[in-house]
Structures are given as structure tokens and as C-alpha cells.
């Protein structure tokens, strides 16, 4: 890709200006919530919910700076007043639901599930590239949240707390996968059949330009392979930043580390990805 193609002919400054507000989160946009966790939550009630490894909200998990699982329209990296208002309202509603859930109201927890089940599943799918694993993490995350909702102290938002559960579960999966040396290109769908993730991406341009589609698929495979070369932590930070559009500060809080560490991990991940892609494409 040359400088002109990248719009660099007018100098660097316009490119930088355009980039402020860039880096948008990419991902699913219109998913219909159909998941039913009721049976699992019923079972958790019956079992009495083991309390080992209690998950508590901590003051370190401060106020989030990006909306959970949604694209964030940016204004130089800052939120508009309307976005801040919407976030405050969502936070207030979440807090009410959590209080009710803590008093034992199952329907309140079900409402929280409905609010967040798509973003949770999407994040898990992005991170794991495997429907089966993503479903497992999705269910496990909500079960954990349900079991430990009593420990929630309102020191951070529900989504930050939930995201932390999800990313930790995904990290566990990625670590186990690394140790098993699974082939991430071969994934299983919900029925247990093998599927090619990339072939499932619909692209109306495919029919119009088969050569370009072939290039795109090849690049997609290269990206997949390059992402798999990252360490679980690098991949997590990259996914949360690039695809989920979360702030580095929030990512640091979710991973129980500092913003500076999250930033350095992003630098490493980005450089590794670029180097790996350059090698794979050459």
C-alpha cells in the first residue's frame, strides 16, 4: 500500500487529524438475544453456588471510559455529552438491577443477562475464534457473575466487572489451547462440525471481484495466523483495544494491571502483528 493510496500525499498532518476518531471498534452490530440461561441459573440456585475464588469488585476497577460492547463514536477520544448522559443512565439502571439481583430477584439478573449477553458472546468469539469455546465462556461468565453478584460493591460498573470475568476465562482457554497446540484455523460450530470462520464472512464484493476476494481471504488467514502468534495477554489487550474499542485505562483495570502495562502490551502486540503479517505475505 503506497503513500498515495493511504491518503498521505497531502502530508502527514491531515492523516493524523483523520486518525483522531479512528480506530473504531469493529464487530457484531445487530444480534438478537436468544440465549436462555435460566436452566443453568436454576441449577446454580439448587447447587447453592460454590463460593471458592470469590470475585469482588475493587476500587482499582474504576469508572469505565468506553461503552460495553458497543461502537464508540469518538470526538478526539472524548465522549459527547449525550454519550456521557446515556452511559450514566445505563449505569444507574444496571445498579438498580444489581441491587435487586443481590436481594435474590432472578428476573433482575435475567435483565442484566439480556443487556450483556451479546457483547459477552461477541468478545469471547473474537478472542477464541471458536463457537464452542465462546459458548462455554459465555455461560461460565454469567454463572460466575450470578454466583458472585453478592460480592459486587458498586466500585466499578457492572460491565467492567463482567468483562474482567470474561477476559480471565478467555485467557484460561487461550493458555490451555496454547499448551495443546490446537489449530485455530480449524474450529467447530455449535453442532460440532468443522467450519472455516473466514468463509462465513459475507461480502457482497466477492461476486463482483473474485481476485480481490481471494486476496482478502488470504489476508484473513494471515491475520488469523498472526493473531495466534501473540501471547494470550497480548491477544487479549489487542482484541479489547482494536475490536472492542476500550480505553487502555479500562483494559488495565480489567486485567488487574496498570494503564502503562496495557499500553506496552499493545505496542508489543501491534508490532508483532505487523512483523508477522509482513513475513506471511512475503
Amino acid at each position: 500500500m503506497n503513500a498515495n493510496a493511504m491518503g498521505l500525499e497531502g502530508g502527514i498532518t491531515p492523516v493524523l487529524s483523520a486518525m483522531v476518531g479512528g480506530g473504531r471498534a469493529r464487530g457484531a452490530s445487530a444480534l438478537r438475544p436468544v440465549l436462555r440461561l435460566s436452566a443453568l441459573l436454576d441449577a446454580a440456585d439448587r447447587v447453592g453456588a460454590t463460593r471458592s475464588g470469590a470475585i469482588e469488585s475493587s476500587p482499582a476497577m474504576a469508572k469505565p471510559t468506553a461503552q460495553f460492547g458497543t461502537k464508540t463514536d469518538r470526538n478526539g477520544g472524548k465522549l459527547t455529552e449525550a454519550q456521557l448522559d446515556a452511559r450514566a443512565q445505563q449505569r444507574a439502571e444496571d445498579d438498580d438491577l444489581i441491587r435487586e439481583a443481590q436481594r435474590g430477584d432472578r428476573s433482575a439478573f435475567d435483565s442484566l443477562v439480556r443487556r450483556y449477553d451479546q457483547p459477552v458472546l461477541r468478545l469471547a468469539l473474537h478472542m477464541l475464534s471458536n463457537e464452542q469455546d465462546a459458548q462455554d465462556v459465555h455461560q461460565e461468565a454469567f454463572l460466575k457473575a450470578y454466583r458472585h453478584i453478592g460480592n459486587f460493591r458498586f466500585e466499578c460498573s457492572f460491565y467492567t466487572w463482567l468483562y474482567r470475568i470474561v477476559t480471565n476465562l478467555c485467557l484460561d482457554h487461550l493458555r490451555r489451547r496454547k499448551s495443546r497446540r490446537e489449530d485455530p484455523a480449524t474450529v467447530l460450530d455449535a453442532r460440532g462440525d468443522e467450519m472455516d470462520l473466514l468463509s462465513n464472512i459475507s461480502d457482497t464484493r466477492a461476486m463482483a471481484n473474485p481476485a480481490r476476494e481471494l486476496d482478502r481471504k488470504h489476508m484473513g488467514k494471515c491475520i488469523h495466523a498472526a493473531l495466534d502468534k501473540l501471547t494470550p495477554r497480548e491477544r487479549t489487550v489487542f482484541e479489547l483495544k482494536h475490536y472492542e474499542g476500550l480505553k487502555l485505562r479500562t483494559i488495565g483495570e480489567m486485567l488487574s494491571t496498570t494503564e502503562e502495562t496495557a499500553k506496552n502490551t499493545l505496542f508489543r502486540a501491534t508490532r508483532k502483528l505487523r512483523a508477522e503479517l509482513a513475513e506471511l505475505r512475503s
Binding site: L8, G22, P33, L35, A134, I223, Y243, K247
Partner: protein, 75 residues
């Protein structure tokens, strides 16, 4: 510190800032100095192009969205 080391440090910082700016995480007050550095440094300008190319490649290859079957609880 020798001048060449000072320059290398400036480039390292600029290249980190290039990554931050593509994610909207570079503070406004650091934007001008990055622009100034890029105007006089070909290596870092190439870094910017490489970073933008990465975003372009990732944008053309989005992750698949979960299918409805994936959203249904098993069992």
C-alpha cells in the same frame, strides 16, 4: 547520551505515539510534537504508513459475527 541515542529515543517514542494516535489515545497536547517529528523523519513516516496499513487490512477482514445458533444455549 550521544546525539544518535537521543534521536533513537525520539523515534521510539514517536512510534509508540503512532500506535496510540490510531486508537485515539494520544493526548491532544502531544499531537503537535508527533506531527513535527513525522515531518522530518522518514523512518517514522514509514511506521505510520505501516500502522495505517495494518488497520486497513484488519478493517477488510472483520471477524465473523456470532450466528444465531451460536447464541442458543446447548442442551
Amino acid at each position: 547520551m550521544r546525539p544518535v541515542e537521543v534521536e533513537a529515543m525520539k523515534c521510539e517514542k514517536a512510534q509508540q505515539n503512532i500506535i496510540l494516535v490510531t486508537y485515539g489515545e494520544l493526548p491532544d497536547e502531544q499531537m503537535a510534537s508527533l506531527e513535527e517529528h513525522l515531518a522530518g523523519c522518514q523512518a517514522c513516516s514509514r511506521e505510520l504508513q505501516a500502522q495505517l496499513a495494518l488497520h486497513e487490512a484488519l478493517a477488510l477482514n472483520p471477524w465473523p459475527i456470532p450466528r444465531q445458533t451460536c447464541l442458543r444455549a446447548r442442551g
